[in-house]
Amino acid sequence: MNLSLKASAGYNVVVNWLSTKSRQPFIFQQQTWQYIINGESGLVNAPTGCGKTFSVFLGTLIDFINNNPDDYTLKKNNGIQLIWITPLRALAKDIGRAMEEVIGELSMKWKIGIRNGDTDTAERARQKRQMPEVLIITPESLHLLLAQKGYPALFSSLKIIAVDEWHELLGSKRGVQVELAISRLVAVKKKYAIDNGQLASKEIQLPIAHCPLSIWGISATIGNLDEAKEVLMYPLQKPGVIVKANMDKLIEVESIFPDEIEKYPWAGHLGIKLAHKIIPIILQSKTTLIFINTRGMSEMWYQTLLTLCPELAGSIALHHGSIDMELRTWIEDNLHRGNLKAVVCTASLDLGVDFRPVETVIQVGSPKGVARFLQRAGRSGHSPDAISKIYFLPTHSLELMEAAALKSAIKENVIESREPKLLCYDVLIQYLDTLAISDGFDPSTIYKEIISTYCYKDLIIDEWENIIHFITEGGNALQQYNDFKKVEEEDDLLKIKSRKMAMRHRMHIGTIVSASMMKVKFLSGGYVGVIEEYFISRLEPGDAFTLAGRNLELLMVKEMTAIVKTSSKKKSKIPSWEGGRMPLSANLGKKLRETLNQLAMGNRQRVNELTKLDPLFALQQQLSHVPKENELLIEQIETDDGFHLFVYPFEGRLVHEAMAAILAYRISRIRPITFSFAMNDYGFELLSDQPIPVDDTNVYELFSPEDLLNDIQRSVNSTEMARRKFRDIAVIGGLIFQGMPGEKKKARHLQASASLFFNVFSEYDPNNLLLRQSYNEVLEQQMEEARLRDMLERIQQSKIIITFPGKLTPFCFPVKVDSMREDLSSEKLEDRVRRMQLDLKG
């Protein structure tokens, strides 16, 4: 009964329209269209900028025209047909514009609506009265729709849910939000079909052979495409298809070298010493994107480029997630028009529609992963046969090694996977509160939907009951003295009845990505951007800092706003945003070890990057040792700071953090000792005020895979890793929210930090769901037993080399200067405190 695409009315309309623009459909688009008119679901694998939007969008149009061949141009107010989920608000406008253009040129009467945090209330009300045929929406805003009374009616005509940039959402809690929303919409559509006699009511119990809803993911290439598809298809209980565009572009990587590697910093200089070398590149090219890893560094780079090349003023811009939306939109518009020579940006410009004028991309510092590097490279060179050119600028010498590893990974097409998140209690609690403020929910119905998602497929009924208990009773309580009030039962449904609580929750849904951000405004009015509250809390009024490329002086903090004025001070603090530290992927780590091996073996056929590093490695060899692939290097060094133990497994930051915790824990069992430890992508450091008892006699034992599981558990319990995970969980799980206007004082009485919640739960309610989740996240995502065991077994097979360098080595330096540290101690707190000093004022 499948309709042949090419014979269909819709196909002909669309192909004719394309030919008026001298364009032809790509094969992958036609494949997608055929699947869509057959009512199938699946995943389109296509890079940015090659018509992926049209694959699903035009398919939806073709299906509609096929069903209304005679009057498709006349039909209006058809109700919603397509929900287009996009991770970034900034993308919505461009996609909407492109879709409107098609609708207009086909003389159709469809409406394209955008719904996100920036949509005004009038437009929202209009949408509620009459849904547009296409709704472009973020995951958070989709959840907000589910928080509206009577929401199921809005979706009765829905045909397709498209999830754009699914690779970006997968592996994040926003991806889980998408999964939950899909599970609800599938159920809404099923119920609607039954109520209208399209489906026999007994079918609701059975796997749905054909749910009257299709789901389409759109994803760039990642290592686990099949799994990415499975996660999306899970609530449909059918396999779905994968359509591949096979349009990957050729990529050329060129490193920017320091003139003398010996003089180039070993760590921590942000690459700014090489800034002068990119000026000619910027000047030669039409438009250049300069990707910087953190927002703080991007502020610095923007300033530096302007100082080095003042004539760039006006044609260089700074774009990152903390900059005011309006300004970002302005930058994006001007990127489109080719009015900008260069944009210094962070991951904020990773996604979305193409900026055609971009000819060149510069990556500053390690991109930390092959997939991200490829995506950024793909930002340049847009004509079909153009080569994407990307420059790599190292921020410290050893990063050149990463450039070599990246090149080899690209050649061999080694790309990372994005692991989907599992059993996130915090997102589930937020979602249940959302359903509780709209129409209320029947727990047994919703439980079935929840376990139809990939994320919660293994949620057992006991855990579910715990969660319901948590949101209705507030966990365990003193019976007649319990004030807890949130979700209540009414007519067999669970509801939140307090309007104030409902309003607070609505404001809260969007905070899933930004923990506690503070607005920054000028005293004279005018909005600069947002900034982590943590950063502001460390400033005193009068201190200067940089945001959005401006020097600002903090005047005061008023409610959740930092009031500032322009500062004339020369010295200003650069905010260090949290989350700027992406870990190196396992794939890149492996490539790095291979690269290192080439260096140690003196391989002749080496790329430039490695030749350039020769003097540095000669120094490393002279001071200590350059490890080969089957060797593990350990350096013990004493400095004024104390006793350092450096270990270099080259496994990436996350694994190193786990390894450092386990090793510190094992050493601390030998005798009472306190460590602080730091790590980067190459290795980790244990630092103590006492000598560290590691030598030839015990080193293999310390790296033994034996009793690993117990040691993992114990070392997680004695570090702060779970506490850090808890910060996000507390926000998403609804423990922390910022006050609303008009309830200032009482909101203050409800303020407590995530860290305080963590303490209180740990001491008085150790089985708390959210607390358990924070430990689970560490154990599952970071302390993954299988991966650690593999690594330890590899170390057992390899030769461990312990050296005692007289001074710091090129390898250890970047680890040592890393400021983010963990602690682990087997000493009594009192004993530690007695040895420490007060930090006196002045």
Partner: protein, 222 residues
């Protein structure tokens, strides 16, 4: 619990307890600050499930301290209650009826926003701004634009409000932050009695004394 440490001020002995309060030996008075009674209930009322055992444990600690020192009077230097009325406060009232013999003096803090009659019904003597006994003054905030009512008669002030915490560091990039008692020449800032409170970093000057609370013990610095 470890033993408290004596701290002498103007020939009076104040025992510094690792359980976040002071005992004034000469007067048989237990001194504490920032109990924030009803805070967990206030959060729970707003749908934030804080375990109620926090408050239960705080109350039990108070009783243990009263019995340990055989005190017959308690002075609370402000923020005895956290916010508006709730059931946990009723629980305290009931508890108070079971222990009517202790005298409770409360110097009002910014969080003590309940109607006066609640405190009166609960057997708590209210002091709006300060309480002076001999040379010693008790008030919520030590440094305030609000001057002392009778500055001449008091030469040492006990206060709360700040929830002082101290940052210490050592070799090997070790650092810790712990709640503390903060003694200067003229005043003492007590740590918050309730464990459901954060800390604010104080920076002592030379010659000032800090007692850090490590959980079960106290460590004196300075």
């Amino acid at each position: 619990m470890r033993n408290p440490i004596p701290h002498i001020i103007h020939n009076n002995t104040f025992w510094v307890s690792p359980d976040r309060c002071l005992f004034w030996e000469e007067q048989n008075i237990l001194i504490l600050a920032d109990m924030h009674l009803g805070k967990s209930g206030h959060f729970r009322k707003a749908g934030i499930p804080i375990p109620q055992d926090v408050q239960k444990a705080d109350l039990q600690r108070l009783i243990t301290q009263l019995l340990f020192f055989k005190a017959d009077r308690v002075i609370i230097v402000g923020d005895f209650t956290h916010s508006t009325s709730n059931k946990e406060l009723e629980l305290f009232k009931k508890w108070r009826n079971d222990f009517p013999l202790f005298r409770f003096d409360l110097v009002k803090g910014n969080h003590d926003i309940l109607e006066d009659h609640w405190y009166i019904e609960t057997g708590i003597i209210l002091h709006k701004k300060e309480l002076v006994i001999n040379d010693f003054c008790f008030r919520h905030e030590a440094i305030n634009t609000d001057p002392l009512e009778n500055p001449s008669c008091a030469s040492f002030t006990f206060s709360g409000h700040v929830h002082p915490g101290i940052h210490i560091s050592g070799r090997g990039k070790q650092a810790l932050r712990l709640p503390c008692f903060y003694f200067t020449r003229e005043h003492c800032i007590l740590p918050a009695f309730s464990k459901f409170t954060g800390t604010y970093r104080v920076k002592p000057k030379k010659g000032e004394v800090i007692y850090m609370i490590t959980g079960t013990d106290l460590v004196r610095k300075g």
